[in-house]
């Protein structure tokens, strides 16, 4: 489906801005919600902030939107300091986790609300509202009230409403979390498509790693009010900066290993290191399940890389197989067609693909993560 070209799109593309947050901190009593955060979003970029509950991702968004005040730090948008500017003057479109359409207004009135506040003439704002609704494929629902449309449609209207005012920055606060899986995936793709078309600088907050990896130019993984890693999705997944990132983004096996030179030896396999400067010694290596392959072992011999299948979880195209290695267990992610050949109780031989692995110094831990 092709997108309608609107004045909003061209204007917004022209005015994509940089967002720079420096030394932002926010405390709630003794709780540190945000701890000296530095984050720069490039013009037209979509950054997804990912992290567990309470890590400070929503607080970051709310500080940027002006819905809360920072204790310390500075926020610059397009080079202008907006740290003390009220929310109503920040020129940011926001989509909330909770359905936030105004219940007493029709869909079109909702989208036109921001334009009305900007004293745009009735004809112009109606035209713009309809354009925005067409953009989110809801032009036919213009006269309906929010309670007459589905949750997914409400979030699309909220997106149209946020974009209608031609904001400098688009803020998305877990807009998909209340939706079912299918609608969620559809709307996620639609948000990304529209964001690319409009070219607006966007900050997307989510606790869903799949969502973050699928939608973002860069993913910022947060923990305890700090950014653990800010990198493209592939880097966050395949070259995690910390063991927290490795464990939070995707599943991982934690296996005992020994660093020697620029490699780590895990159960007899030499694997390259993400950080070649890791000091030698015992470590815990973090190995992704998809880096582990299994083959049926009919020899009956035991060794560090042979084990017994104890469980298999069907995930659709792939299956996750858990193997007991005697002193620990390991997960492998295989195509379902292969996994079905290895029922529980099967003897299997393992190989680990030599992808760069992250290691952590807590060598005592040697079980799967």
């Amino acid at each position: 489906m092709s997108l309608p070209t609107t004045s909003t799109q061209s204007d917004a593309t022209r005015t994509a801005v940089e967002v720079r947050m420096e030394g932002l901190s926010r405390h709630y009593g003794s709780v540190v919600a945000l701890d000296n955060l530095d984050l720069t979003v490039q013009p037209g970029e979509l950054i997804a902030l990912l992290g567990p509950s309470g890590c400070g991702k929503t607080t970051t968004l709310r500080l940027l939107a002006g819905l809360e005040d920072a204790d310390t730090g500075q926020i610059n948008v397009a080079g202008r300091d907006i740290t003390r500017l009220p929310a109503s003057k920040r020129d940011m479109g926001m989509v909330f986790q909770a359905y936030s359409l105004f219940p007493h207004m029709t869909v079109q009135q909702n989208v036109a609300f921001g334009l009305r506040l900007r004293k745009i003439s009735s004809a112009k704002r109606d035209k713009r509202a309809l354009e925005m609704l067409e953009l989110v494929e809801l032009g036919s629902q213009a006269d309906r009230y929010p309670h007459q449309i589905s949750g997914g449609q409400q979030q699309r209207v909220a997106l149209a409403r946020a974009l209608a005012i031609e904001p400098q920055v688009l803020l998305l606060d877990e807009p998909l979390s209340a939706l079912d899986a299918k609608v969620r995936a559809q709307l996620r793709d639609q948000i990304r498509r529209i964001q690319l078309e409009v070219g607006i600088t966007t900050l997307f907050v989510t606790h869903d790693q799949e969502e973050a990896l699928a939608i973002a130019d860069r993913v910022g993984v947060m923990r305890a009010g700090r950014l653990e890693q800010l990198a493209p999705p592939t880097d966050v997944y395949s070259r995690p900066a910390t063991s927290f990132v490795a464990e939070f983004v995707g599943l991982s096996n934690r296996l005992a290993g020994i660093v020697t030179g620029s490699a780590v030896t895990v159960r007899g396999h030499d694997l390259p290191l993400v950080d070649p400067l890791t000091p030698a010694g015992p470590v815990t290596a973090i190995v992704r399940p998809e880096a582990v392959t299994l083959a049926s072992d009919d020899t009956g011999e035991s060794g560090p890389m042979t084990g017994t299948v104890i469980a298999s979880t069907f995930l659709g195209a792939t299956s996750r197989v858990t193997v007991d290695l005697g002193d620990t267990t390991i997960m492998a992610q295989l195509p379902t067609s292969e996994a079905t050949k290895l029922p529980a109780g099967s003897r299997v031989a393992l190989t680990i693909r030599p992808d760069p692995v992250l290691v952590s110094a807590d060598s005592a831990v040697a079980s799967e993560g």
Binding site: D91, M94, F96, A98, F102, P103, H104, R118, A162, I165
Partner: protein
């Protein structure tokens, strides 16, 4: 078990020793529904009679002629011309004006305050609730003792019974608060206000163009309760020596020859209040039409 196929239903019947049909939730529900309906009709009839019989007796009395067994509408026609003192019509007029003033003042005071507290000063909500519910715990006579010195001063400036609205605002506070709190709880005021602010709305716009339109039903309920309270108030007005409609009706009742007017005026007031409340509740339904 309604969804079971016949052999399974029979098996269930065998296991429980009861016929499958008797165990069907559908059948059970139908029996329960019938019982509930019977209970509803009986309860409605009893309470209906309890409330209606005295009213019908009042209307009947107001229509009695001077001789036993005759009928007359003179008591009703006298309402407008009843000389008093003070004239009945003027006391009705004052009571209606009081209802309007009290409603406006209490809503203007409480609606923005409650919204503001919800959005900006949530920590104050318990104090607000305590203050608003306090009048419920104070007997009218105690309230009058407290208000009397204030009214002595007010009377130096204005002796109109309309000044009763100060006291009535206090009396109406608990009911207004409760109705509005229920309405405010039904709206996600925080998210709506944040959405509006992110679109460029100032606090005034948030309050009056976003939150208030979503609590019209609650505002109408508060209005309805305030009007009902004002129309029926007697104690404070009487003890503060003001004459409103209820006080006037009480004065009329003291002379036996005017009993017909007393009852016709009471019935007329009741009818008026009923129609007014009906209009308000109809207006509320109209406003909600097409909305959640």
């Amino acid at each position: 078990m309604a969804g079971l196929n016949p052999p399974l239903a029979d098996l269930a019947a065998d296991l429980t020793g009861r016929p499958a049909a008797a165990r069907r939730p559908g059948g059970l529900r139908a029996v329960q529904r019938r019982r509930l309906n019977v209970f509803r009709y009986v309860a409605f009839t009893i309470f209906g009679l309890f409330f209606l019989l005295p009213l019908l007796a009042m209307v009947r009395f107001s229509l009695e002629g001077t001789k036993l067994g005759t009928w007359s509408v003179s008591a009703w026609t006298q309402i407008a011309s009843y000389p008093g003192p003070p004239p009945l019509l003027s006391s009705i007029e004052i009571t209606l004006e009081l209802a309007v003033i009290t409603s406006v003042v209490v809503l203007v005071l409480v609606v923005p305050t409650m919204i503001w507290i919800r959005l900006r000063a949530r920590w104050f909500s318990k104090v607000m609730e305590f203050i608003c519910l306090l009048p419920l715990t104070i007997p009218a006579i105690v309230l009058v003792v407290g208000l009397a010195p204030i009214y002595n001063r007010i009377e130096r400036v204005n002796v109109s019974a309309l000044m009763l609205f100060w006291a009535y605002v206090i009396l109406a506070l608990p009911y207004t608060y409760r109705a509005l709190a229920a309405g405010l709880n039904a709206v996600d005021a925080t998210t709506l206000s944040e959405a509006a602010r992110s679109l460029g709305a100032r606090w005034g716009t948030v309050m009056f163009r976003i939150i208030v339109p979503n609590m019209w039903q609650a505002i109408l309920n508060a209005l309805l309760l305030t009007v009902a309270l004002t129309l029926g108030e007697f104690t404070v007005a009487y003890l503060l020596t003001y004459v409103n409609m209820q006080v006037n009706l009480f004065e009329i009742s003291r002379s036996a020859e005017n009993a017909g007017v007393l009852f016709s005026a009471s019935a007329a007031t009741l009818l008026f209040a009923f129609i007014l409340l009906l209009i308000l509740s109809y207006a509320g339904r109209r406003m909600r039409r097409g909305r959640p």
